[in-house]
Protein backbone atom coordinates (compact mmCIF):
# COMPACT_ATOMS: atom_id res chain seq x y z
CA UNK A 1 0.00 0.00 0.00
CA UNK A 2 2.65 2.45 1.07
CA UNK A 3 4.95 1.42 -1.78
CA UNK A 4 2.20 2.14 -4.26
CA UNK A 5 1.71 5.57 -2.73
CA UNK A 6 5.43 6.31 -2.88
CA UNK A 7 5.57 5.24 -6.49
CA UNK A 8 2.46 7.20 -7.39
CA UNK A 9 3.79 10.33 -5.72
CA UNK A 10 7.13 10.07 -7.47
CA UNK A 11 5.59 9.48 -10.88
CA UNK A 12 3.12 12.31 -10.45
CA UNK A 13 5.77 14.73 -9.22
CA UNK A 14 8.14 13.97 -12.10
CA UNK A 15 5.39 14.04 -14.68
CA UNK A 16 3.94 17.32 -13.44
CA UNK A 17 7.35 18.94 -13.24
CA UNK A 18 8.24 17.75 -16.70
CA UNK A 19 5.03 19.23 -18.13
CA UNK A 20 5.56 22.42 -16.17
CA UNK A 21 9.11 22.89 -17.39
CA UNK A 22 8.46 22.02 -21.02
CA UNK A 23 4.98 22.88 -22.20
CA UNK A 24 3.83 24.94 -19.25
CA UNK A 25 6.50 27.63 -18.90
CA UNK A 26 4.95 30.75 -17.43
CA UNK A 27 5.79 33.77 -19.54
CA UNK A 28 8.21 35.83 -17.41
CA UNK A 29 10.47 32.94 -16.48
CA UNK A 30 10.81 33.92 -12.80
CA UNK A 31 7.12 33.28 -12.23
CA UNK A 32 7.58 29.54 -12.60
CA UNK A 33 7.94 29.53 -8.84
CA UNK A 34 4.15 29.33 -8.58
CA UNK A 35 4.54 25.62 -9.30
CA UNK A 36 6.13 25.27 -5.86
CA UNK A 37 4.27 28.10 -4.18
CA UNK A 38 0.62 27.25 -4.69
CA UNK A 39 0.77 23.49 -3.98
CA UNK A 40 2.70 24.07 -0.77
CA UNK A 41 0.11 26.60 0.40
CA UNK A 42 -2.66 24.10 -0.16
CA UNK A 43 -0.74 21.31 1.50
CA UNK A 44 0.14 23.42 4.53
CA UNK A 45 -3.55 24.08 5.02
CA UNK A 46 -4.24 20.38 4.58
CA UNK A 47 -1.80 19.60 7.37
CA UNK A 48 -3.72 21.94 9.62
CA UNK A 49 -6.94 20.11 8.87
CA UNK A 50 -5.21 16.85 9.82
CA UNK A 51 -3.86 18.48 12.97
CA UNK A 52 -7.37 19.51 13.97
CA UNK A 53 -8.89 16.12 13.31
CA UNK A 54 -6.07 14.36 15.14
CA UNK A 55 -6.33 16.67 18.15
CA UNK A 56 -10.05 16.14 18.30
CA UNK A 57 -9.58 12.40 17.90
CA UNK A 58 -7.08 12.25 20.73
CA UNK A 59 -9.28 14.15 23.14
CA UNK A 60 -12.27 11.95 22.27
CA UNK A 61 -10.58 8.55 22.39
CA UNK A 62 -7.29 9.03 24.23
CA UNK A 63 -5.55 6.74 21.74
CA UNK A 64 -1.83 7.54 21.34
CA UNK A 65 -2.09 6.97 17.58
CA UNK A 66 -3.96 10.24 17.16
CA UNK A 67 -1.23 12.09 19.01
CA UNK A 68 1.44 10.77 16.67
CA UNK A 69 -0.63 11.80 13.67
CA UNK A 70 -0.98 15.30 15.15
CA UNK A 71 2.75 15.59 15.78
CA UNK A 72 3.56 14.32 12.30
CA UNK A 73 1.13 16.70 10.62
CA UNK A 74 2.59 19.65 12.51
CA UNK A 75 6.08 18.75 11.36
CA UNK A 76 5.04 18.20 7.78
CA UNK A 77 3.00 21.39 8.00
CA UNK A 78 6.14 23.21 9.06
CA UNK A 79 8.00 21.88 6.00
CA UNK A 80 5.28 23.04 3.62
CA UNK A 81 4.84 26.36 5.42
CA UNK A 82 8.57 26.97 5.16
CA UNK A 83 8.51 26.23 1.43
CA UNK A 84 5.44 28.43 1.10
CA UNK A 85 7.05 31.39 2.84
CA UNK A 86 10.43 30.96 1.17
CA UNK A 87 9.03 30.75 -2.34
CA UNK A 88 6.58 33.52 -1.54
CA UNK A 89 9.40 35.72 -0.37
CA UNK A 90 11.48 35.10 -3.50
CA UNK A 91 8.44 35.65 -5.68
CA UNK A 92 7.61 38.87 -3.89
CA UNK A 93 11.17 40.13 -4.33
CA UNK A 94 11.02 39.40 -8.04
CA UNK A 95 7.61 40.98 -8.54
CA UNK A 96 7.57 43.98 -6.19
CA UNK A 97 11.18 44.26 -5.13
CA UNK A 98 10.44 43.61 -1.44
CA UNK A 99 11.13 40.47 0.57
CA UNK A 100 8.18 40.76 2.88
CA UNK A 101 5.39 43.18 3.49
CA UNK A 102 2.25 42.93 5.59
CA UNK A 103 -0.40 41.95 3.13
CA UNK A 104 -3.29 39.58 3.85
CA UNK A 105 -1.95 36.40 2.33
CA UNK A 106 1.60 37.07 3.39
CA UNK A 107 0.44 37.52 6.97
CA UNK A 108 -1.63 34.36 6.84
CA UNK A 109 1.21 32.23 5.53
CA UNK A 110 3.60 33.67 8.09
CA UNK A 111 1.13 32.80 10.85
CA UNK A 112 0.86 29.23 9.53
CA UNK A 113 4.61 28.92 9.93
CA UNK A 114 4.59 30.45 13.41
CA UNK A 115 1.78 28.20 14.58
CA UNK A 116 3.68 25.09 13.49
CA UNK A 117 6.85 26.28 15.19
CA UNK A 118 5.09 27.15 18.44
CA UNK A 119 3.26 23.82 18.40
CA UNK A 120 6.54 21.96 18.05
CA UNK A 121 8.22 24.04 20.75
CA UNK A 122 5.33 23.26 23.08
CA UNK A 123 5.66 19.57 22.27
CA UNK A 124 9.34 19.61 23.02
CA UNK A 125 8.90 21.26 26.39
CA UNK A 126 6.61 18.70 28.04
CA UNK A 127 8.22 15.53 29.32
CA UNK A 128 5.39 13.33 30.52
CA UNK A 129 3.91 11.50 27.56
CA UNK A 130 0.19 11.65 28.40
CA UNK A 131 0.30 15.24 29.51
CA UNK A 132 2.12 16.19 26.32
CA UNK A 133 -0.44 14.50 24.13
CA UNK A 134 -3.34 16.12 25.96
CA UNK A 135 -1.91 19.64 26.08
CA UNK A 136 -0.74 19.50 22.47
CA UNK A 137 -4.13 18.30 21.28
CA UNK A 138 -5.73 21.29 23.01
CA UNK A 139 -3.21 23.72 21.58
CA UNK A 140 -3.49 22.13 18.15
CA UNK A 141 -7.24 22.69 18.07
CA UNK A 142 -6.86 26.30 19.17
CA UNK A 143 -4.08 26.87 16.63
CA UNK A 144 -6.19 25.50 13.79
CA UNK A 145 -9.11 27.74 14.74
CA UNK A 146 -6.65 30.61 14.53
CA UNK A 147 -6.08 30.02 10.81
CA UNK A 148 -9.50 31.11 9.45
CA UNK A 149 -9.53 33.93 11.99
CA UNK A 150 -6.23 35.28 10.75
CA UNK A 151 -7.28 34.91 7.13
CA UNK A 152 -10.32 37.08 7.83
CA UNK A 153 -8.59 39.62 10.05
CA UNK A 154 -5.64 40.11 7.69
CA UNK A 155 -8.12 41.45 5.17
CA UNK A 156 -8.30 44.67 7.16
CA UNK A 157 -4.92 45.42 5.64
CA UNK A 158 -4.51 46.56 2.03
CA UNK A 159 -3.62 43.82 -0.42
CA UNK A 160 -0.80 43.83 -2.94
CA UNK A 161 -0.98 40.14 -3.68
CA UNK A 162 -1.78 38.94 -7.18
CA UNK A 163 -5.49 38.13 -7.31
CA UNK A 164 -5.75 35.35 -9.82
CA UNK A 165 -3.55 33.86 -12.36
CA UNK A 166 -4.56 33.65 -15.97
CA UNK A 167 -2.92 30.80 -17.80
CA UNK A 168 -1.52 31.17 -21.27
CA UNK A 169 -1.88 27.54 -22.19
CA UNK A 170 -3.90 24.58 -21.02
CA UNK A 171 -0.62 22.84 -20.04
CA UNK A 172 0.04 25.31 -17.28
CA UNK A 173 -3.31 24.56 -15.66
CA UNK A 174 -2.79 20.85 -16.05
CA UNK A 175 0.67 20.82 -14.54
CA UNK A 176 -0.38 23.02 -11.64
CA UNK A 177 -3.31 20.71 -10.94
CA UNK A 178 -1.06 17.67 -11.14
CA UNK A 179 1.48 19.29 -8.84
CA UNK A 180 -1.18 20.08 -6.26
CA UNK A 181 -2.26 16.46 -6.41
CA UNK A 182 1.32 15.20 -6.20
CA UNK A 183 2.03 17.41 -3.21
CA UNK A 184 -1.18 16.21 -1.65
CA UNK A 185 0.11 12.66 -1.88
CA UNK A 186 3.51 13.77 -0.69
CA UNK A 187 2.00 15.40 2.40
CA UNK A 188 -0.07 12.32 3.16
CA UNK A 189 2.97 10.11 2.68
CA UNK A 190 5.18 12.23 4.90
CA UNK A 191 2.58 12.33 7.66
CA UNK A 192 2.17 8.59 7.39
CA UNK A 193 5.91 7.91 7.56
CA UNK A 194 6.49 10.34 10.39
CA UNK A 195 3.61 8.85 12.37
CA UNK A 196 5.19 5.44 11.99
CA UNK A 197 8.57 6.74 13.08
CA UNK A 198 7.11 8.38 16.15
CA UNK A 199 5.17 5.27 16.99
CA UNK A 200 8.16 2.96 16.75
CA UNK A 201 10.25 5.42 18.70
CA UNK A 202 7.69 5.49 21.48
CA UNK A 203 7.56 1.70 21.50
CA UNK A 204 11.31 1.46 21.71
CA UNK A 205 11.57 3.97 24.55
CA UNK A 206 8.80 2.25 26.44
CA UNK A 207 10.60 -1.05 26.19
CA UNK A 208 13.88 0.43 27.27
CA UNK A 209 12.37 2.24 30.22
CA UNK A 210 10.26 -0.48 31.71
Amino acid sequence: MRRILILLTLVLLLLAMWIALTAGQVAPIKRNIIYAHIPSAICALLCFVVLFVAGFGYLRTGKPGWDYVAAASAEVGLVFATVLNATGSIFSRAEWNIWWTPSPRLISSAVLWFLCVVYLILRASIQSYHRRARICAVFGIIAVIDVPLVIISARFIPDIHRANFSFDSVWQGTSLGLLVLANFFLAALLIWLKTDILQSKALLENELNY
Binding site: S103, R105, L122, A143, F156, D159
Partner: protein, 237 residues
Protein backbone atom coordinates in the same frame (compact mmCIF):
# COMPACT_ATOMS: atom_id res chain seq x y z
CA UNK B 1 -27.77 26.72 37.48
CA UNK B 2 -28.03 28.00 40.98
CA UNK B 3 -25.03 25.95 42.00
CA UNK B 4 -23.15 27.15 38.92
CA UNK B 5 -23.66 30.78 39.95
CA UNK B 6 -22.78 30.10 43.58
CA UNK B 7 -19.58 28.22 42.83
CA UNK B 8 -18.63 30.74 40.15
CA UNK B 9 -19.03 33.57 42.63
CA UNK B 10 -17.14 31.68 45.34
CA UNK B 11 -14.10 31.04 43.11
CA UNK B 12 -14.19 34.52 41.62
CA UNK B 13 -14.40 36.21 45.03
CA UNK B 14 -11.61 34.00 46.34
CA UNK B 15 -9.34 34.92 43.43
CA UNK B 16 -10.04 38.63 43.67
CA UNK B 17 -9.44 38.63 47.43
CA UNK B 18 -6.19 36.66 47.01
CA UNK B 19 -4.95 38.97 44.28
CA UNK B 20 -5.75 42.22 46.00
CA UNK B 21 -4.44 40.99 49.32
CA UNK B 22 -1.10 39.76 48.04
CA UNK B 23 -0.69 43.00 46.03
CA UNK B 24 1.97 41.34 43.93
CA UNK B 25 0.70 41.54 40.41
CA UNK B 26 -1.21 44.75 39.97
CA UNK B 27 1.63 47.15 40.85
CA UNK B 28 4.01 45.22 38.58
CA UNK B 29 1.47 45.29 35.77
CA UNK B 30 0.95 49.03 36.12
CA UNK B 31 4.64 49.78 36.22
CA UNK B 32 5.31 47.59 33.22
CA UNK B 33 2.48 49.26 31.29
CA UNK B 34 3.81 52.71 32.13
CA UNK B 35 7.36 51.73 31.21
CA UNK B 36 6.26 50.37 27.83
CA UNK B 37 4.36 53.59 27.16
CA UNK B 38 7.26 55.74 28.29
CA UNK B 39 9.89 53.92 26.21
CA UNK B 40 7.71 53.97 23.11
CA UNK B 41 6.90 57.66 23.62
CA UNK B 42 10.57 58.50 23.59
CA UNK B 43 11.21 56.25 20.61
CA UNK B 44 8.29 57.75 18.71
CA UNK B 45 9.73 61.22 19.35
CA UNK B 46 13.14 60.14 18.13
CA UNK B 47 11.58 58.66 15.01
CA UNK B 48 9.26 61.68 14.73
CA UNK B 49 6.17 59.48 14.43
CA UNK B 50 2.68 60.89 14.80
CA UNK B 51 1.47 60.08 18.33
CA UNK B 52 -2.09 59.35 17.22
CA UNK B 53 -0.76 56.71 14.83
CA UNK B 54 1.50 54.96 17.31
CA UNK B 55 -0.92 55.41 20.24
CA UNK B 56 -3.15 52.40 19.52
CA UNK B 57 -0.14 50.13 19.08
CA UNK B 58 1.26 51.29 22.41
CA UNK B 59 -2.07 50.67 24.14
CA UNK B 60 -2.32 47.12 22.85
CA UNK B 61 1.31 46.24 23.52
CA UNK B 62 0.97 47.51 27.08
CA UNK B 63 -2.27 45.52 27.60
CA UNK B 64 -0.85 42.35 26.08
CA UNK B 65 2.28 42.19 28.14
CA UNK B 66 0.73 43.34 31.39
CA UNK B 67 -2.12 40.92 30.79
CA UNK B 68 0.43 38.14 30.53
CA UNK B 69 1.65 38.99 34.03
CA UNK B 70 -1.86 38.69 35.45
CA UNK B 71 -2.53 35.44 33.64
CA UNK B 72 0.74 33.90 34.70
CA UNK B 73 -0.21 34.50 38.33
CA UNK B 74 -3.74 33.20 38.05
CA UNK B 75 -2.75 29.52 38.09
CA UNK B 76 0.52 29.89 39.96
CA UNK B 77 -1.71 30.50 43.00
CA UNK B 78 -3.42 27.15 42.44
CA UNK B 79 -0.22 25.25 41.86
CA UNK B 80 1.49 26.38 45.07
CA UNK B 81 -0.29 24.21 47.64
CA UNK B 82 -1.85 21.85 45.10
CA UNK B 83 -5.03 23.89 45.45
CA UNK B 84 -6.08 22.98 41.93
CA UNK B 85 -6.56 19.41 43.19
CA UNK B 86 -8.77 20.83 45.94
CA UNK B 87 -10.91 22.56 43.33
CA UNK B 88 -11.09 19.51 41.09
CA UNK B 89 -12.07 17.29 44.02
CA UNK B 90 -15.08 19.47 44.66
CA UNK B 91 -18.20 18.73 42.62
CA UNK B 92 -17.59 21.82 40.51
CA UNK B 93 -17.38 21.71 36.72
CA UNK B 94 -13.92 22.61 35.34
CA UNK B 95 -15.64 25.05 32.99
CA UNK B 96 -16.83 27.02 36.00
CA UNK B 97 -13.26 27.31 37.24
CA UNK B 98 -12.27 28.63 33.82
CA UNK B 99 -15.04 31.23 33.72
CA UNK B 100 -14.22 32.41 37.24
CA UNK B 101 -10.53 32.77 36.37
CA UNK B 102 -11.44 34.53 33.14
CA UNK B 103 -13.54 37.08 35.05
CA UNK B 104 -10.69 37.64 37.48
CA UNK B 105 -8.23 38.29 34.68
CA UNK B 106 -10.60 40.63 32.89
CA UNK B 107 -11.17 42.60 36.10
CA UNK B 108 -7.42 42.79 36.70
CA UNK B 109 -6.88 44.18 33.21
CA UNK B 110 -9.71 46.69 33.68
CA UNK B 111 -8.24 47.97 36.94
CA UNK B 112 -4.85 48.16 35.27
CA UNK B 113 -6.31 50.13 32.38
CA UNK B 114 -7.99 52.59 34.73
CA UNK B 115 -4.51 53.72 35.68
CA UNK B 116 -2.52 53.18 32.52
CA UNK B 117 -4.94 54.48 29.87
CA UNK B 118 -4.99 58.03 31.30
CA UNK B 119 -1.21 57.95 31.51
CA UNK B 120 -0.92 56.93 27.86
CA UNK B 121 -3.55 59.49 26.88
CA UNK B 122 -1.57 62.24 28.54
CA UNK B 123 1.87 61.28 27.28
CA UNK B 124 0.68 60.65 23.73
CA UNK B 125 -1.78 63.54 23.65
CA UNK B 126 -4.59 61.29 22.50
CA UNK B 127 -8.27 62.13 22.56
CA UNK B 128 -11.38 60.28 21.47
CA UNK B 129 -13.61 63.39 21.46
CA UNK B 130 -17.12 62.25 22.47
CA UNK B 131 -16.62 58.61 21.57
CA UNK B 132 -15.97 57.35 25.08
CA UNK B 133 -18.54 54.61 24.88
CA UNK B 134 -17.04 53.19 21.69
CA UNK B 135 -13.56 53.45 23.15
CA UNK B 136 -14.52 51.51 26.28
CA UNK B 137 -16.27 48.87 24.16
CA UNK B 138 -13.12 48.30 22.12
CA UNK B 139 -10.96 48.05 25.24
CA UNK B 140 -13.39 45.63 26.89
CA UNK B 141 -13.55 43.41 23.82
CA UNK B 142 -9.77 43.46 23.68
CA UNK B 143 -9.58 42.54 27.37
CA UNK B 144 -11.87 39.58 26.88
CA UNK B 145 -9.86 38.38 23.90
CA UNK B 146 -6.52 38.68 25.68
CA UNK B 147 -7.83 37.04 28.83
CA UNK B 148 -9.79 34.14 27.34
CA UNK B 149 -6.77 32.75 25.50
CA UNK B 150 -4.34 33.73 28.24
CA UNK B 151 -6.30 32.04 31.01
CA UNK B 152 -6.36 28.70 29.24
CA UNK B 153 -2.67 28.84 28.32
CA UNK B 154 -1.74 29.90 31.83
CA UNK B 155 -3.43 26.75 33.13
CA UNK B 156 -1.49 24.73 30.56
CA UNK B 157 1.85 26.27 31.42
CA UNK B 158 1.51 26.32 35.21
CA UNK B 159 -0.14 22.95 35.74
CA UNK B 160 2.10 21.10 33.30
CA UNK B 161 5.22 22.73 34.68
CA UNK B 162 6.28 24.04 31.30
CA UNK B 163 8.77 26.85 31.62
CA UNK B 164 6.87 30.09 32.07
CA UNK B 165 8.51 31.94 29.22
CA UNK B 166 6.51 29.86 26.79
CA UNK B 167 3.25 31.50 27.89
CA UNK B 168 3.95 34.75 26.04
CA UNK B 169 4.80 32.90 22.84
CA UNK B 170 1.63 30.81 22.96
CA UNK B 171 -0.60 33.77 23.72
CA UNK B 172 0.94 36.15 21.18
CA UNK B 173 0.77 33.78 18.25
CA UNK B 174 -2.91 33.05 18.87
CA UNK B 175 -3.86 36.66 19.62
CA UNK B 176 -2.15 38.02 16.52
CA UNK B 177 -5.30 38.08 14.35
CA UNK B 178 -7.25 40.08 16.92
CA UNK B 179 -4.62 42.79 17.07
CA UNK B 180 -5.26 43.96 13.50
CA UNK B 181 -8.92 45.00 13.87
CA UNK B 182 -8.30 46.11 17.47
CA UNK B 183 -5.61 48.55 16.37
CA UNK B 184 -7.69 49.53 13.38
CA UNK B 185 -10.70 50.39 15.56
CA UNK B 186 -8.58 52.55 17.84
CA UNK B 187 -6.97 54.32 14.88
CA UNK B 188 -10.45 55.24 13.69
CA UNK B 189 -11.45 56.49 17.15
CA UNK B 190 -8.35 58.66 17.47
CA UNK B 191 -9.02 60.07 14.02
CA UNK B 192 -5.66 58.88 12.69
CA UNK B 193 -7.26 57.46 9.53
CA UNK B 194 -10.48 58.42 7.74
CA UNK B 195 -13.64 56.49 8.55
CA UNK B 196 -13.84 54.14 5.59
CA UNK B 197 -10.25 53.38 4.76
CA UNK B 198 -8.35 50.12 4.90
CA UNK B 199 -9.08 47.59 2.30
CA UNK B 200 -7.88 48.23 -1.17
CA UNK B 201 -7.02 45.32 -3.40
CA UNK B 202 -8.92 42.14 -4.03
CA UNK B 203 -9.14 40.46 -0.69
CA UNK B 204 -9.56 43.48 1.54
CA UNK B 205 -12.50 43.84 3.86
CA UNK B 206 -14.61 46.98 4.09
CA UNK B 207 -12.72 48.59 6.90
CA UNK B 208 -15.04 50.60 9.07
CA UNK B 209 -15.58 50.71 12.79
CA UNK B 210 -18.50 48.31 12.70
CA UNK B 211 -16.67 45.49 10.91
CA UNK B 212 -13.74 45.84 13.29
CA UNK B 213 -16.02 45.58 16.32
CA UNK B 214 -17.88 42.72 14.69
CA UNK B 215 -14.66 40.85 14.16
CA UNK B 216 -13.59 41.34 17.76
CA UNK B 217 -16.94 40.11 19.07
CA UNK B 218 -16.64 37.03 16.87
CA UNK B 219 -13.07 36.39 17.98
CA UNK B 220 -13.99 36.68 21.66
CA UNK B 221 -17.03 34.44 21.23
CA UNK B 222 -15.16 31.73 19.32
CA UNK B 223 -12.25 31.57 21.73
CA UNK B 224 -14.21 31.93 24.96
CA UNK B 225 -16.42 29.01 24.00
CA UNK B 226 -13.54 26.88 22.67
CA UNK B 227 -11.35 27.50 25.69
CA UNK B 228 -14.25 26.88 28.05
CA UNK B 229 -14.89 23.52 26.39
CA UNK B 230 -11.22 22.54 26.27
CA UNK B 231 -10.35 23.65 29.79
CA UNK B 232 -11.41 20.34 31.30
CA UNK B 233 -8.79 18.53 29.23
CA UNK B 234 -6.08 20.87 30.41
CA UNK B 235 -6.65 20.44 34.14
CA UNK B 236 -7.71 16.81 34.32
CA UNK B 237 -5.60 13.79 33.64
Amino acid sequence: MNYFCKSLWAIFAKDIVTEFRSKQVLPTMIVLGMLIAWVLRIVSEAASLSTTVIGPAVLWIAFLFSGLLAQERSFAVEEQEDCIAGLLLAPVDPGTIYIAKLFTNIIMLCVFELVVVPVIFLTFQLSVADKWFEFITVLLLGNIGISCVGTLFSAMVQLSRIRGSLLSVLVLVILMPMMIPATFALLLLFGAIPGELAGSGTLALVGNFKTAIGYMVAFDAVYTVTCWLLFGFVVQE
